[in-house]
Each structure stands twice: as C-alpha cells, then as structure tokens.
C-alpha cells in the first residue's frame, strides 16, 4: 500500500470516516473514501482505530443499579392505608364519649352542683380508654395520630368543656390504675 496520498485526501477521509462507518455517507463519497483507504496505510490505520474504539465502548460493562434503590423506591411509593379511617372512627367515638361525659357532667352540675371526685375520675377514665384506642388505631394506620387527634381534635375541646386540666399520660395512668384497682 502506498503512503503517497495527498494530505487533502487524508483530511477529507478523516472528516468522513465516522459517518462512513455508520453507513451515513452518500454512495459516491463512500466509494471515494474506500478507494482512498485501500491505497493509504495511514487512513487504513485510522479506520482500524475507529473500529477498535467502537468495539471497546460497546464491550464496556454496564454498572448495575444496587437493589436497595428499587427497594427504597417501593417503600416511598407504596400505597398508604387510609390513614384517617380507623383513627377518624376512633376519634369520633372518643369525641362522642367526651361530649357525653361533658353533657353528663354539666347536667349533674346543674342539678347537684360541682361534680364529685368519683364522677371526675370516671370521666377521666373514659377519656383515657378512648385516647388509648385512638393511639392504637393510629399505630395500625402507620402514623402516630393519637397525639394529633388528642390535641386540637379532641383534648382541648374536652378540656374547655369540662374545665379540666387533663394530660394524656395522666389519663392513661388513671385508666390503668382504675383497671388495676378492679382486678
């Protein structure tokens, strides 16, 4: 093979080598390039190099995505249980209990004066039971909604209605103590 090809021809081939490899050259240009490559050792080497580069790139191993990524995505996009359904039901029950207690207390107060200590204890115990149910329902639903509903949704209205200073831990303790005393 000859190296006597002009640089113009080599430069012309160099610009068209990749399109030629991809079959993108017009027929007459492809034929001219092939004739030149057949006679030019330098350009023939460039063709070999271009093919080697393509081959190496194609053979590069593809890094696999760690399985933890798919798992994390599954966790983040898993359908949530209807968060409020069980907790809302519990809240409505507890709210009804609370209102019932408050009505009973007010009725008692109107007819008999201030509620007795036993009546207050009973009211607190009932509320403790209701709030315990809310908390359990919240855990089932996957969120801690007990304190959310027991705060603005339930506790404060009951506190205002009964004019009582009540805390959830205190209610639960009293409920627990009441159960303990009866067993």
């Amino acid at each position: 093979m000859s190296d006597n090809t002009s640089r113009h021809d080599c430069d012309w081939c160099d610009e068209r080598l990749e399109p030629w490899l991809d079959g993108e050259l017009a027929a007459d240009e492809a034929a001219a390039l092939e004739r030149h490559v057949a006679e030019c050792r330098r350009c023939e080497r460039q063709v070999s190099l271009a093919r080697r580069i393509q081959s190496e790139l194609r053979d590069l191993e593809q890094p696999a995505c760690p399985e933890g990524v798919a798992g994390a995505l599954a966790d983040r996009t898993r359908p949530r249980r209807p968060l409020l359904a069980p907790a809302l039901a519990a809240g409505l029950v507890a709210g009804a209990l609370g209102l019932g207690v408050a009505w009973q207390m007010n009725r008692t107060t109107e007819t008999d004066g201030a509620p007795s200590r036993a009546q207050l204890a009973e009211a607190r115990a009932d509320l403790g039971v209701a709030l315990g149910y809310i908390s359990a329902a919240g855990r089932v639903a996957g969120r801690d909604v007990g304190n959310v509903l027991a705060g603005e949704g339930l506790m404060r209205p009951i506190q205002r209605g009964l004019d009582l200073e009540i805390t959830i831990p205190a209610l639960r303790r009293e409920s627990h103590d009441m159960v303990e005393s009866e067993t």
């Binding site: 990749e18 460039q46 593809q62 599954a74």
Partner: protein, 166 residues
C-alpha cells in the same frame, strides 16, 4: 400510572439510568441518589409522560440531575476519576485494566468530552440506545445527534491517535 406499573418502570430502566449517572458523576453513591430522585420525580409528575416517552423523560431528568451535581462539585471533566463498573472502584475482575492501557485512556478520553458529546457517546456507543430516544432525551434533532456523535468519536480517535500506529 399505578404502583405496579411504576415498579415495572423502575425495574425496566433503573440499570440504564444508574449507568448514565455513574458515568456522568463518577460517583456510585451520588448516582444512586440521582436515580432515586429521577424516579420519584416521575412518580410525582402530573400528567405522566406517555409510555413511549417515559425513557427519554427519565434520561433527561437523570442527565440534568447528574450534571447539576457535577456543577455543584465544580469538577472539570478531565479531573474525574476513571469510571469503573466494579462496586468498590477497583479494577474489574474480567478486565486487567492495569494492563489495558488503551481501555483506560479511552475512558479518560470519554470523561474529557464536553456535553452533549459525552452523553451522546454514553447513550449511543456504550448503552446502544436508538437515535430517536437519544434525540428526545437530549432535546436534539436526529441529524444533530448523528453529527455530534461523529464529532465525538472523531475527537476520541484523535486523542488516541498514537494507537493507530500499533
């Protein structure tokens, strides 16, 4: 797109997106974050892209996120570490890179390409994606994809021209 369809989409495309992100960021941990972010964006996207456009959409998001992270790190492409497929970054068992100087230099040359040439080489020459998908992902015309790809490969060939004498 319900949860099951989304999980299918993740399964079908996670490896391709991860490979793109790793090759662009040079960091497997960042690539994991990028892939998660990309799929979460798809999950939250309303309306969803049509089925045929999901992969180009994901590639666009993944590429943009990867390049954003690179910009934040202010990395010059030529300074990036050689990209490896092995989890711990060591030489792959099936390729003795210490003895494969050509492969190492080729990877360096790919890492040194400017955008969009580097993404084009990754998506077409390494991953073998169709021109149309690449064009959509990079917001280029079909002819631009081909012309730019030819330029990128010519640049790689020129950088490795000393191997032409072997």
């Amino acid at each position: 797109m319900d949860t099951a369809a989304f999980q299918d989409t993740v399964r079908d495309h996670k490896d391709r997106l991860f490979a793109l992100a790793v090759r662009l960021t040079g960091d497997r941990s960042e690539a994991e974050d990028v892939v998660q972010e990309s799929f979460i964006k798809l999950w939250q996207q309303e309306p969803k892209p049509p089925d045929a456009a999901v992969l180009p959409w994901l590639l666009t998001v993944t590429r943009n996120a990867s390049l954003d992270r690179l910009r934040r790190r202010r990395l010059i492409p030529a300074d990036q570490a050689v990209l490896e497929a092995h989890p711990d970054g060591a030489a792959r068992p099936d390729r003795q890179l210490a003895g494969d100087e050509f492969g190492r230099r080729l990877k360096d040359a790919v890492n040194g390409l400017k955008e969009p040439f580097r993404s084009l080489v990754i998506l077409r020459e390494i991953q073998g994606l169709e021109y149309q998908v690449i064009a959509q992902a990079l917001s280029l015309s079909l002819s631009q994809v081909k012309v730019y790809l030819h330029r990128a490969r010519r640049q790689l060939r020129h950088e490795l021209s000393d191997y032409a004498d072997e």
